[in-house]
Amino acid sequence: MFEILDKKILAPNIKWIRVHAPLVARSAHAGQFIVLRLHERGERIPLTLFKWSKEEGSIELVFQEVGKTTYELGSYDPGDKIMDIVGPLGKPTHIENYGTAVIVSGGVGAPIGYAVTKALKDAGNHVVSIIGFRSKQYVILEDEFRKVSDELLITTDDGSYVRKGFTTDVLKEYLEKGGKADYVFTVGPVIMMKLIAKITKEYGIKTDASLNPIMVDGTGMCGACRVTVGGEIKFACVDGPDFDAHQVDFDELMSRLVEYRPEEKIALDRYVKGVR
């Protein structure tokens, strides 16, 4: 059992928790994730490692409440226990000193983007962070990003904070103004990653995207997480989750993500109604 040590609400429906998971913490790297199962009847869901502390044996997760499992997790308080956590899973993001690295994170991709940003910064890169949110109330981790970025560009879809526009607009402007980018890492909604990849392809900038398909085991055993990269079938949980963004079939990923929408709705409705 894995005890929740601490909890914060970062924005509407976005929560941060710190969990006791020493085995995960001791070997975690940026870009990796865990799979958790809340209880005996629970589903296995993946969440990315936001931060971790070997010394304290704890990991930090940031998640958005979108369905049954994430809402239920959101209802857990410090002292409550998660039945199973396995990890760290996936290949760590490849970190090197590229020169200038631009990290584009959207919405709840921000915690993943943060871990990678920090690692790229630690590796000596000049780090430019672009983070985008729906509106002011959803802006999360701003201070965290500021600490690990040389430049921080924030945007909101509706212009309620800093500026109006999508992360794609910000990246485009940055590049048009002659901003340097030797490497781009992107994580967030699939449509955003797809459009970011399109821009960086025009500029010929090496780009990795962190993909988030539906997963079950997270160890390469089921193939639920398969994605098409460069025409080949890859399993995101073991071959990824990062892939060359210019090779990824984002449309297929988008389609596969909603495979269980009707069932997810049933599960959430039942949960909201308090059926156990």
């Binding site: 396995v86 160890t219 055993m221 193939g223 079938i233």
Partner: protein, 476 residues
């Protein structure tokens, strides 16, 4: 004592097919004492050094020996005889392909039906379980040496059992949240109730084996770290990675690997959705590609979660199907439809990306290939479509590389299986491997046999410290 030869096998009571396709309870109900005694009495007790059944069993269970004990109503005696070479009779009795192994050459086959060895073995295990009987074990005193086992499938469990009895401090590491490997996530409840697997695991715990779930070796700990903390490591990581055919449309929604389909249903209990959180897609018609045990399990599970029509699509003909006879018969009784001599060439989806049609091409059988089986050859111009709501790929699995993708010292064959020698030694000092990880997809009983033999080799290695300069690959 002149005895009348009883030619006919005593039938095993089974759940009615019409009923059982609506539940996940075990199909074969097993013998009662009366029926078991009757079946056991058919065995003519061939001498142990000659009995062809013993030779046919990969772990050489003393079959006439335990059958005799059934007649003597001595469950403990029977169990102990079996346990000398087979630690999991409740499991093998249910899932071994007996018709190709112990039962194949049973001499009774010349006079009538062969003895139902599998069901008798299962009977012994089930009776023992009911009565809480365990075989007498002699535990060697603790020797202070530690062995790590990776994977809790039959290979790992068997190796763990033997090593703990030899006095080792044994820890089994398992990536999933439950123990048993394919026995728990793959083989469905209606063929192998999970309680039986749990019972065996609990027994191992009671004799001192330690289990660490939710630990992926290669991620949570590296193999190098294990080698620092343990005197030897056994890899029983199985062949868990599913294969797909890279055909147009293969990633449409509703197309699963058998592993995903079965894992959702068995391990995650999707058949109880929404009481359990994991969903499974439901629909009218489902097609399974492949014709082994895995395919039968997927097809029969599909019926049970509510698919009305389930097809097995196989590229060869009936006689080449690799599934156990009993599974094929059960699938047929339950109404699974078989389509032979067809291969998929692609999938067509609807506007939302859900699979709607499997495109198939007809085959004819050509020359035999390396495996001696006649090769399916597509007949041009015979393409047609089968409308479906879901497709399950059951065309085979390869070893999971999570563990060794970062360990260059571990050599693998071109099939991705680990290279080992006759003593199950890998190309890395102190690391042993067995089961599906070295055989590719194989069977429970062979995985157990490997675990047993590897345990012996591990004991020898730890005692002598001997390791060869060069590993001479052994093929299994």
């Amino acid at each position: 004592m002149a005895r009348q030869i009883k030619k006919k096998r005593v039938p095993v009571p089974e759940q009615d097919p019409k009923e059982r396709i609506h539940n996940f309870n075990e199909v074969a109900l097993g013998y009662t004492w009366e029926l078991a005694t009757e079946e056991a009495s058919r065995c003519i007790q061939c001498p142990v050094n000659f009995a062809p059944c013993i030779k046919g069993c990969p772990v050489n269970v003393n079959i006439p020996g335990f059958i005799k004990k059934i007649l003597e109503k001595d469950v403990k005696g029977a169990l102990e005889i079996i346990h000398k070479t087979n630690a999991l009779p409740g499991i093998t009795g249910r899932v071994c392909p007996q018709e190709e192994q112990c039962e194949m050459n049973c001499v009774m086959g010349k006079l009538g039906d062969r003895i139902n060895i599998g069901k008798l073995e299962r009977f012994v295990a089930d009776e023992a379980r009911k009565m809480g009987i365990h075989p007498e074990v002699t535990m060697a005193p603790k020797n202070g040496k530690k062995v790590a086992i990776v994977g809790s499938g039959p290979a790992g469990l068997t190796a763990a059992a033997d090593l703990v009895k030899m006095g080792y401090d044994v820890t089994v590491f398992e990536a999933l949240h439950d123990l048993g490997g394919v026995l728990i996530y793959g083989i469905p409840e209606f063929r192998l109730p999970k309680d039986i697997v749990r019972y065996e695991v609990e027994y191992l715990k009671s004799i001192g084996v330690k289990f660490e779930k939710n630990v992926v070796i290669g991620k949570t700990y590296t193999l190098y770290e294990l080698l620092e903390d343990y005197d030897a490591v056994f890899l029983g990581t199985g062949a868990g990675t599913p294969k797909f055919l890279n055909l147009p449309g293969v990633n449409l929604k509703g197309i699963y690997s058998a592993n995903e389909f079965l894992t959702r249903i068995n391990l995650m209990k999707a058949y109880k959705f929404p009481e359990y959180d994991t969903p499974i897609k439901k629909g009218k018609r489902l097609a399974v590609i492949g014709a082994g045990n895995v395919a039968m399990d997927a097809a029969r599970s599909a019926l049970r979660v509510g698919y009305e029509e389930v097809y097995i699509l196989y590229r060869r003909t009936r006689e080449y199907m690799t599934a156990r006879e009993e599974e094929i018969a059960h699938a047929e009784e339950e109404g699974v439809k078989f389509m032979f001599l067809v291969s998929p060439v692609g999938f067509v989806g609807d506007a939302d990306g859900n699979v709607r049609v499997v495109r198939l091409i007809m085959n004819e059988l050509g020359e035999p290939d390396e495996s001696g089986r006649r090769k399916p050859v597509p007949i041009p111009g015979t393409e047609f479509g089968l409308e479906v709501d879901a497709v399950v790929f059951a065309i085979g699995q390869k070893p999971n590389k999570v563990l060794y993708q970062e360990v260059p010292e571990l050599k693998v064959t071109r099939w991705g299986t680990l290279v080992v020698d006759e003593k199950y030694r890998t190309t890395m000092r102190g690391v042993f491997a067995g089961g599906d990880a070295v055989r590719g997809e194989s069977t429970v009983v062979l995985a157990m046999g490997d675990g047993k033999k590897a345990a012996k080799a591990i004991d020898e290695y730890i005692k002598t410290g001997e390791w060869p300069e060069e590993i001479k690959p052994q093929s299994f």
